[in-house]
């Protein structure tokens, strides 16, 4: 087919009206249809079905859908329209060529090298932010030349074959930088791909069938960068400021490459230093950027046509230099902090570290988050040094089983089946096999993006409900072997009371996660204003339930402690184990009571604002309160304990119709005051006492933000009360209410309304 014929077709299709029905399917061909392809495959006989196909097609209506029942919407969205320039990568403008005509032999000014390098850095950061390589780094013609065909040695990476003997220094610098850049991307991509992340949503690891220099050794590239730096130093022709800017770029790249290569190691003490050194390059890198001269012709959207991809070419992503540097600076800072997770203190501090690290704002980048996952979980060895059992036993010991025979490793050595220690060991192993996955899932889930954390918890919470039930069975079985004596107290119950340590532990974590689900809902602005009273009520209910549960655990821990103290052989180490568990229970109780005090205050405040019509519910003609409650509480509908409160009951306790508005506000004020005192006590705790060793600063900032939100709540309550008391005969207070968006408040988990006087 001639070139002209092609243009004619494109014109024909452009004119083609979708509504023209019966029409010769080959009318667009000037001449006969192309000959059938010659297939050479055993057992396959090619035959021309053009006529049959044409006849069959004529039986169809225009727009009639032909598909099998399993063809989904998702697949239909993947359909492309040939000759639509937004969808068809082969669609050319008249006179347009398929590939770019770029002269790789042309000499570039040193300023232009700076310009290209800086543009590549913007593209690299755009990739880190979640855009595909195809729209970022791979739009560079120099990168394209470097990677295609895939080189296996440095010698094969010249931009132009004529450079093999005589490569200008400028191009040598660009080549070295590009090699370092792609190898850096290789390490980053491998790390992200290995961990749990969401393709496209978080990051695009797709390399479009291009190898990221896997064929060339790390050391070869590193050395090449180093040699290029030396060549540059010897050069006497370049202006000093240009020379310095180029040198900084080469050294920065070598450092970046080295850092991401080392970052996978979980033993290196120098990791923090690596990241801070890398960060130190940034100010000069940024300020010297003005020396650069951009070369827009060296980037092309067309390269995407050559890449293995099912999507049409999309525009080149433009990330500003400011945004790129900002991202990189944070990446260096966050990565240096992430390394600190490798110092293990205790299981509770570990979880606090991960929680607070992920709550940093903006959330650390995907690469850093996958590094954290790698440090935590790689090879199923926690932090590179601890078995999962170690962490799990630590956690059990620090909550429900301090210095308990169930965690005695010597039990594993007993092989006599009728020895209770053997039986304990077997059942504890069953428990660990069941619980370890769920426990690690919490850590894994909180490493995801903020939306996924909430969605993940909503899914895993059902698993924790089952884990609690399974553990209860084990608890009952274990009693036979531990010889646990129940508490018999007719004042509490006529039945003997057992400790149920394993299921107690599971219940504690289940409650904690239920609280997080509700709190993440505030952070992600999932609730409408008129839902806030109910959701804060639910939060205080969960926190109060946790507090009562902790009370129960404390009772049993205290009892074991008292018994142990009577034993003259008890060592100081053993005593410390009890004190540590009790101290954690006390801390968690304090934290729970601050939460329920604060949440209770806000719930009452929002109830009052609803009563005063300062927060109005939309008309909602298609919905009723019960149906919306079912949507909202869906994650909890399957939970056995605490059972979901029926909607009518919940309404009664939230709305409190029998309480006067002033009484509600008085209660809200007292509750907020109590929470404030609790938060103040918490803010004075040491890192050890607050179980946040390794992240005390972040923890303290978090508590202080809660404290500010709490004080602000008290102020709002007081203003509402004053306005209610001053209201005229119509009872309408002269105020209006604004609900600040999530990131504008003092703390994302505490939505504090703002009261504004109106005339």
């Amino acid at each position: 087919m001639s070139g002209n014929g092609f243009d004619a077709i494109s014109q024909d299709i452009a004119n083609l009206d979708i509504n023209d029905g019966a029409r010769d399917p080959f009318a667009m061909w000037d001449t006969a249809p192309p000959p059938a392809p010659k297939l050479k495959s055993k057992g396959v006989i090619a035959m021309d079905i053009t006529e049959q196909f044409g006849n069959a097609a004529r039986q169809l209506d225009v727009g009639q859908l032909v598909k099998d029942p399993y063809f989904t919407l998702f697949e239909s969205v993947g359909a492309l329209e040939i000759m639509d320039r937004k969808m068809d990568s082969g669609c050319l403008e008249p006179g347009e060529t398929m590939e770019d005509q770029y002269d790789f032999n042309q000499e570039l000014l040193p300023e232009e090298i700076i310009g290209i390098i800086d543009q590549l850095l913007c593209h690299e950061m755009a990739w880190h932010m979640g855009h595909p390589l195809a729209q970022t780094i791979f739009t560079s013609l120099y990168i394209d030349k470097l990677l295609s065909p895939s080189p296996i040695s440095i010698q094969q990476t010249h931009f132009d074959s004529r450079h093999s003997f005589d490569e200008p220094l400028t191009l040598r610098i660009l080549r070295a930088y590009c090699l370092g850049l792609i190898k850096t991307c290789f390490y980053v991509n491998s790390r992200v791909k290995t961990e749990h992340f969401y393709e496209e949503e978080d990051f695009v690891t797709h390399t479009f069938n291009r190898s990221l220099l896997e064929g060339i050794e790390h050391n070869d590239i590193f050395q090449f960068l180093d040699e290029t730096t030396k060549l540059l130093a010897e050069s006497e022709t370049l202006p000093l400021d240009i020379k310095r800017a180029l040198d900084c770029r080469l050294q920065f790249r070598a450092q970046f490459l080295n850092t991401v290569e080392l970052a996978d190691s979980r033993t290196s003490d120098s990791l923090v230093k690596q990241w801070t050194t890398l960060g130190d390059f940034l100010p000069y890198l940024n300020s010297s950027s003005k020396l650069g001269k951009s070369v827009p012709t060296s980037f092309s959207v067309k390269i995407q046509r050559k890449l293995a991809s099912t999507v049409p070419p999309r525009p080149i992503v433009q990330v500003s230099q400011e945004a790129a540097f900002d991202h990189l600076e944070r990446l260096c800072r966050d990565a240096a902090v992430a390394v600190e997770v490798l110092t293990y203190y205790d299981s509770h501090s570990l979880m606090t570290f991960v929680l607070l690290f992920q709550a940093r704002k903006p959330q650390p980048s995907v690469y850093v988050r996958t590094l954290l996952q790698h440090y935590l979980f790689a090879d199923m060895v926690i932090l590179g040094t601890k078995s999962i059992r170690h962490i799990l036993d630590d956690d059990l010991a620090a909550t429900v089983l301090p210095n308990d025979q169930l965690l005695d490793r010597d039990n594993d050595e007993i092989e006599v089946p009728n020895d209770p220690r053997h039986q304990m060991s077997v059942r504890m192993e069953t428990f660990r096999a069941r619980a370890a996955g769920s426990y690690l899932d919490i850590l894994r889930t909180i490493c995801q993006n903020r939306c996924r954390i909430r969605r993940g918890l909503c899914h895993t919470i059902a698993d924790w409900d089952n884990l609690q039930l399974d553990s209860e069975e084990l608890d009952v079985e274990l009693r036979v072997f531990t010889g646990e004596k129940p508490i018999v107290d007719p004042e509490i119950s006529t039945d003997p009371i057992y400790s149920f340590p394993l299921s107690s532990w599971a219940y504690f974590y289940k409650l904690k996660q239920m609280e997080w689900i509700v709190q993440m809902g505030f952070e992600l602005e999932t609730y409408q204003p008129d839902e806030l009273a109910g959701m804060y009520w639910y939060l205080q209910y969960l926190a109060k339930t946790r507090s009562r549960h902790l009370e129960r655990i404390r009772g049993f821990d205290m009892r074991s402690f008292a018994a142990a103290r009577k034993n003259p052989k008890a060592t100081a180490d053993k005593m410390r184990a009890y004190l540590n568990a009790i101290s954690f229970i006390n801390f968690s109780t304090m934290e729970a009571s601050a939460t329920y005090g604060f949440a209770g205050a806000l719930s009452c405040l929002f109830t009052v604002l609803g009563r005063l019509s300062l927060i109005k519910a939309p008309p909602r003609p298609y919905s009723d309160d019960t149906m919306r409650y079912e949507v909202r509480m869906k994650p909890f509908s399957c939970i056995g304990l605490p059972e979901l409160i029926p909607f009518d009951e919940l309404t009664k306790v939230v709305v409190q119709p029998e309480e006067s508005t002033i009484d509600l506000l008085k209660f809200a004020a007292e509750s907020a005051m109590g929470a404030k005192k609790g938060l103040e006590v918490l803010s004075k705790l040491s890192a050890k006492g607050a179980y946040c060793q390794g992240s005390h600063d972040s923890w303290l900032n978090n508590i202080k933000a809660c404290l500010k939100a709490c004080i602000f709540t008290s102020i709002t309550i007081a203003s509402v009360k004053k306005a209610v008391e001053a209201a005229g005969k119509d009872g309408k207070p002269k105020i209006k209410v604004e609900i600040p968006p999530s990131e504008k408040g003092y703390h994302d988990w505490w939505v504090v309304p703002k009261v504004i006087p109106v005339p």
């Binding site: 859908l65 969808m87 903020r450 939306c451 602005e525 003609p621 869906k634």
Partner: protein, 185 residues
Amino acid sequence: MAGEAEGSKAAELPAELRYMQYEHALEKQYLPAIRALISKDLSEPYSIYVYRYFLYQWGDLCFMALHPEKPLLIGIIICKLETHQSHSPPTLRGYIAMLATSSSYRNRGIATTLVRKAIDAMIERGADEVVLETEENNIPAMKLYERLGFIRSKKLHRYYLNGSSAYRLVLHLKRTVEMTGEGVV
């Protein structure tokens, strides 16, 4: 899928709009205008196959707002209704895929009327619930749905190609115990 963009300058509208349920026979007359109206708000267009995927299978859940005098398409809603199996028990789930109104006719409740017509048609067919996604910054669209009774069930990180996040909005039309997953044929 596609949402509704924010309003701009208003145009004169002399009389009541006409609302029309779509059917396959109308494809020739209206599909080009439907595509044009929806593509306006999209950075990357859907192929004609996507439109036909919905319109051929669920034409009765598609409604058009037309100019009272001229053959001019002013608003469009495109939906589907299927048994949703991914969790138990299954539900008959309506999905609002696309909603658009011409920028010069916004803030007149046209989109709300279209959504109501679609929901009514779904109810008639026995739908248990209706879901959709909307861009996190599209406040007018979110308000529209929330006024009708939808609530946000979850946030979807970087859901759209342009990198912005979305909310999943959900409207239950029945109590959970009454949901059968099967509709009226």
